[in-house]
Symmetry: C2
Subunit: 332 residues, 2 copies
């Protein structure tokens, strides 16, 4: 059977196609009686609007691209799931895109295919490459470093790192190793690092560069494992390991276990993101919750405003972060 069209519904309801369209779009200025007749006809025909037709006529697609580096990392999986559901609740369909590297990410945000969506929400890799190309559609960035080129939700990087560092200092740790994301061999310069330094300074504890393990591909458990093995082999002495995320911390926990280092007795370990896994490692993992629900709501709200036509300068909304202490950093 042929799929019913607007014209079919209009014929059944005894009105013009435009009136049916007005009802489908929820426009006001339709008499209640007409509205009811149209809705009945829609029901009777089993009509569903054809998005290709609507898209062509209106220029709107009803779709939003959601770009994440991967979804094997629980953090991104959780954010992606929240974004999909939040967009869905507003009648928009998410097009989840996996951008494994910076080039794929750039293409997903600035490339030609972007014209087939109404807007883009991107969770960027460490740093979004500077660029002079203007995006074809509104873009909102979730996390990462704000660019000034588009709206951005900035998570509580600094506050979170500050809080977890203070927590370690408060519980007696003094030599805190960092397992960090960034260009290898380069001293980190991000907000989390700044928060960490600020907390150290407030306690009068010096920062030791020998205790920093930096790598650009450290977003898997295996990476954390390798980084921790490297730290242990370096002979550096430390009583805490502040890890860039939970996945890396899980790998670090395993490496410490393997080498007979006790957690938290010998070394405290902390993560970031407060993923589900953090409650189930052995020992359970102290982490920082970035208030994902809040971030997602802000991102979706800003994108909708842009799609609706808001044209002001790029905005930056900042959210907080909450320390979630668990066994891996208990005082000893």
């Amino acid at each position: 059977m042929r799929r019913p069209t607007l014209a079919d519904v209009a014929a059944v309801a005894g009105v013009s196609a435009k009136t049916v369209s007005n009802v489908m779009l929820g426009r006001n200025g339709v008499s209640e009686a007409t509205r009811r007749a149209v809705l009945a006809a829609v029901e009777q025909c089993g009509y569903e609007v054809n998005l290709a037709g609507r898209g062509l006529a209106s220029g709107r697609t009803g779709r939003v691209a959601v770009v994440v580096p991967n979804i094997y990392q629980p953090y991104f999986a959780e954010v992606a799931e929240r974004l999909i559901l939040a967009l869905d609740a507003r009648g928009l369909t998410a097009m989840l895109q996996i951008a494994h590297d910076g080039a794929a990410e750039r293409e997903a945000v600035l490339g030609g295919r972007v014209r087939d969506v109404d807007g883009v929400i991107v969770c960027p890799h460490v740093a979004f490459p500077p660029d002079d190309t203007a995006p074809a559609r509104p873009v909102v960035q979730l996390g990462g470093v704000p660019t000034g080129r588009w709206d951005c939700v900035v998570m509580g990087e600094r506050e979170g790192a500050d809080a977890v560092t203070r927590h370690l200092l408060d519980t007696g740790r003094r030599r805190i190793a960092l397992v960090w994301n960034g260009a290898p061999g380069v001293r980190p310069s991000d907000d989390r690092f700044a928060g960490h330094l600020a907390a150290l300074a407030a306690y009068g504890v010096p920062h030791d560069p020998a205790l920093v393990a930096v790598g650009s591909d450290w977003d898997r458990r295996a990476s954390g494992y390798e980084a921790m093995v490297g730290l242990l082999r370096s002979g550096a002495s430390f009583d805490a390991a502040l890890c860039i995320n939970d996945a890396v911390a899980a790998g670090a926990l395993r490496a410490l276990h393997r080498h007979g280092v006790r957690v938290p007795e010998d070394v405290a370990v902390t993560g970031f993101d407060d993923t589900d896994e953090s409650g189930f490692t052995v020992p359970s993992l102290t982490s920082v919750s970035p208030r994902q629900g809040e971030m997602v709501e802000h991102a979706v709200a800003m994108l909708l405003e842009r799609i609706a036509g808001h044209a002001g300068p790029a905005r930056a909304v900042r959210t907080g972060a909450d320390l979630v202490p668990r066994a891996s950093s208990a005082a000893v």
Copy 2:
């Protein structure tokens, strides 16, 4: 600036719109000289085909719905990521849909919105509800119980459960508890269960229903934790726990640790899915790899055939499963 259209490109190339269309679609029957001229014009204009226009004219959308129960479970996240990339490699865009319950899943596969995609790949909940509605678009099911209503890739449920059970028996375990997915209180009837029973029978070891913990919402670590606590409290004695998936096994590991039960000395634990996490639990987790790459390739290939018009009866492709032994089930 206005987005360039087919007509713009045609004007620049000095041909008709149809010829440009033929080139864009890779149709043969275009002279090499014309093809080159068109491609140059495309480049010059920065032309990208408008999917709404193509969709309306051709009836094809270039999109495939990928329906999964969630992506917080690493297994589904990994399958979804593989599907997205596999479809992308064939020029199709995935529309990832999260169907948290059976009703949402039914809507995603059989509902009206399905007309906006060319086909559907669904990773179903435990059992897809029987139904007499015909899907509006080709459907391929990945995992779960084949329905006979559409193409299905059946994972090595039986082989996997058989292999892991034999492994436990071979390493001296005799009282194997099951932490299983299913209707609460109902004896499981799925293929994995059958595989488990077959292995037990082959070794002449009786199955003890008192060692089966069944629940319908057991797909999170917390569920495995609770299930294992329940088993321990029941006073049942067991020397192994065969868990329905890695997430549940991770929760079970934690519960055993909490209660002072040693793994693998007192109890062996095994999971299913061979997720990344299984290599990093303490102790590392024996699991079963369902050969996800193979499954995804089969699913995408079958869907493409259907979209291309293949109309034969529902097919079922079976894949294998591989035991991945780790420390949690070491012989003692």
